[in-house]
């Protein structure tokens, strides 16, 4: 049982390289932030970078990529509904 488990778990190496990627993404985010000439493009770019970080932590650190789909469904249901409600409320309040 343990053998099975450990062969499916990412190794510490993967965890550390994920941490490096996360740090790099954060550094890029902050760098991009200071490039004011990007103007409004900053919003979608920073959004994509954050989503990438979010996804990495969820899939690798929280293990969702390696686990049963049931967990993914549970989490994504909450996440997608939450995102939809945020955008709906922003629209209703004429944010855009």
């Amino acid at each position: 049982m343990n053998k099975e488990e450990t062969s499916n778990h990412p190794t510490p190496k993967i965890y550390i390289s994920t941490a490096l990627i996360l740090s790099l993404l954060t550094a890029i985010e902050i760098g991009i932030f200071y490039i004011t000439s990007l103007g409004y493009w900053m919003i979608p770019i920073l959004s994509i970078l954050s989503i990438a970080k979010f996804a990495l932590v969820v899939m690798v650190y929280m293990h969702l990529k390696y686990e049963t789909k049931i967990f993914t469904i549970m989490f994504l249901t909450g996440l997608i509904l939450a995102t939809a409600i945020v955008f709906a409320l922003m629209t209703l309040f004429r944010f855009f």
């Binding site: 049931i70 909450g78 509904l81 939809a84 409600i85 409320l89 209703l92 309040f93």
Partner: protein, 602 residues
């Protein structure tokens, strides 16, 4: 060395009141929920009767306006959060493990905690009557009237805090049932073989865990405005009371599906049993439930058509609201098709279930009328809406619950109720209900607003209001018949067999009432309506347990944590040191719960 940390051993065979306080048996918890909720239903009913007495004719002086505001607020809040939802919980608790072939829920102590926390919430809310006045701003608590500027006393504070406590209770229960239904099903009990009641309960639980966080935030924001001077709904600082409405109804609309889906589940169990036919279109009924739950998130602003959201928003929500009538209608047709050419037994539970179809449909029709934003402009905030909500909640949720109580009465009490009294009770109830609520369609369309404590005779509303008031007293009489039947039968009724109705689902395969361990041997399920199929194939047998049955042990800690929350709640309103004390008790309770030993059974 001593155990880490200090471990208090679990109660061993507690008796009397300690048995009830430390129980983690889902059946006893179900009964606790049911009895408590019913008592609160009576309280909510008395609140209604007081209001209706005041409205019996124009210009009455029985109840003053301030008290009237408290009555309608408490009536709504009580009926929704302290009566219908916990009665639903009573059924979830009692039936779900039995219907899926399990011995208990996934988290028995969490289950007990849900009940005690619900009781705490009920106490907190009703304490307001004695501590300066009940909340008075409606069950939906719109800002800014709930803000400190317009509502200085503690009434609203009690409303906020009790709803948060009740929210914790509901969330705990819902998480429990989600895990239970996914993970504790007997072998062979696939999702496509689940009884409809369990399916609807599963969907309801998912709605609960997604919707309650939203009202939690809304209540936090209101509380912070009131207690700490924040600006969430303070217009002078740019705050927008409409935000409250949105957050409330994003919760509030899924909430009404939380109120009705379990009832639909109950009806879907009763009709097939007494038609001697399987439910027509089982997959479609389930799918409709799922679609209703999904679409329930897309309709909330139909409660806000007259706020001024603009034509685009109003049109979108009108369309989605009309659309959600479709899966609802589909269910109704499936129920009718179940009855069609069935070999019908028109006993008490069946009458309630058939009654449901009639009155819920009427409620649905008025609902579709509200969905049209233009006509809703006339109907909003009138008695036409009051008629709608009572047809779907009273003629929907409640009528199904009462039918369910009769249907499962032999199972949970071990006795048969009196059928003659049952029918008498049903007919009185059904007729009284319609006398009470149908006239509200007329007064509403004639312009009578909601939440008014009196009205002038010049409007011509006197006659129908009097009829409604007479109706509510007839309803009270019908409820007395119901209570008498249930109580006297519970004490004195004829002993019930395991399967008095020749029914279809697993709970009928075990004795009435079930032993503590439910199933001597966990069944292996091979079909939908497995018990029925096994009977048809003569495959039923007296199963003898082959070995140890491991049952969860009773515990003090759920009760302790609930007490901690109760104390913290009062402290939050009155006195921070008391809040800290309550929080400390809660935390100690949680730690003790986490590290509690599992006593071995003797």
């Amino acid at each position: 060395m001593t155990s880490f940390p200090l471990q208090i051993s679990r109660p061993i065979h507690p008796t009397g009141i300690w048995n009830w306080i430390t129980t983690i048996d889902h059946k006893r918890i179900g009964i606790l929920y049911g009895v408590t909720a019913f008592i609160l239903f009576i309280i909510g009913g008395i609140e209604a009767m007081l209001m209706r007495s005041q409205l019996a004719s124009s210009n009455m002086k029985l109840i003053n306006p301030e008290l009237y505001n408290q009555l309608f607020t408490m009536h709504g809040t009580t009926m929704i959060f302290l009566a219908i939802m916990p009665m639903g919980a009573a059924f979830f608790n009692y039936l779900i493990p039995l219907q899926i072939g399990a011995r208990d829920v996934a988290f028995p102590r969490l289950n007990a905690f849900s009940y005690w926390t619900f009781l705490a919430g009920a106490i907190i809310l009703n304490a307001s009557w004695f501590l300066g006045g009940a909340p008075n701003a409606g069950w939906f608590g719109y800002a800014p009237i709930t803000g400190k500027a317009y509502n200085v006393g503690h009434g609203i504070d009690f409303w906020i805090v009790s709803l948060q406590v009740l929210g914790i209770a509901s969330l705990a229960a819902a998480f429990n049932f989600i895990v239970t239904i996914i993970n504790m099903r007997a072998p062979g009990m696939t999702f496509s073989r689940l009884p409809v009641f369990t399916w609807m309960s599963f969907i309801t639980a998912i709605l609960l865990v997604l919707a309650f966080p939203v009202i939690t935030v809304a209540l936090i924001e209101l509380m912070f405005d009131r207690f700490y001077g924040t600006n969430f709904f303070i217009t002078s600082a740019g705050g927008n009371p409409v935000l409250w409405q949105h957050l409330f109804w994003v919760f509030g609309h899924p909430e009404v599906y939380i109120l009705i889906l379990p009832a639909m589940g109950i009806v879907s169990e009763i009709l097939p049993t007494f038609s001697k036919k399987p439910l027509f279109g089982y997959p479609v009924v389930i799918l409709s439930g799922i679609i209703i739950a999904f679409m329930g998130w897309m309709v909330w602003s139909h409660h806000m058509f007259t706020v001024g959201l603009g034509p685009v928003a109003n049109s979108v929500f009108a369309l989605t609201t009309m659309a959600i009538a479709i899966p609802t209608g589909v269910k109704i047709f499936n129920w009718l098709a179940t009855l069609w050419k069935g070999s019908l037994t028109l006993n008490t539970p069946m009458l309630y279930a058939i009654g449901f179809i009639l009155t819920f449909t009427i409620g649905g029709i008025s609902g579709v009328m509200h969905s049209q934003a233009a006509s809703d402009a006339q109907q909003q905030d009138t008695y036409f809406i009051v008629a709608h909500i009572h047809y779907v909640l009273f003629g929907g949720s409640l009528i199904a619950i009462l039918g369910g109580i009769y249907y499962w009465f032999p199972k949970f009490s071990g006795r048969m109720y009196n059928e003659t009294l049952g029918k008498l009770g049903f007919y009185s109830f059904f007729i009284a209900m319609n006398i009470t609520f149908f006239p509200m369609h007329f007064t509403g369309l004639n312009g009578m607003p909601r939440r008014i404590y009196t009205y002038s005779s010049e409007f011509g509303w006197d006659f129908w209001n009097l009829i409604s008031t007479i109706g509510v007293f007839l309803l009270a009489a019908a409820m007395i018949i119901f209570i008498y039947n249930i109580v006297s039968s519970w004490i004195n009724g004829e002993k019930a067999p395991a399967d008095p109705w020749d029914a279809r689902t697993l709970e009928w395969s075990i004795p009435s009432p079930p032993p503590e361990y439910n199933f001597a041997v966990i069944p292996t399920v091979e079909h939908r309506d497995d018990w029925w199929e096994k009977k048809m194939q003569n495959k039923t047998s007296e199963e003898i347990s082959s070995g140890d049955i491991h049952l969860p042990q009773p515990s003090y800690w759920p009760f302790v944590v609930s007490i901690g929350l109760l104390i913290a709640a009062f402290g939050l309103i009155y006195n921070i040191p008391v809040a800290i004390l309550g929080t400390a008790i809660t935390m100690i309770g949680v730690y003790a719960w986490s590290f509690e030993p599992v006593n071995d059974p003797d």
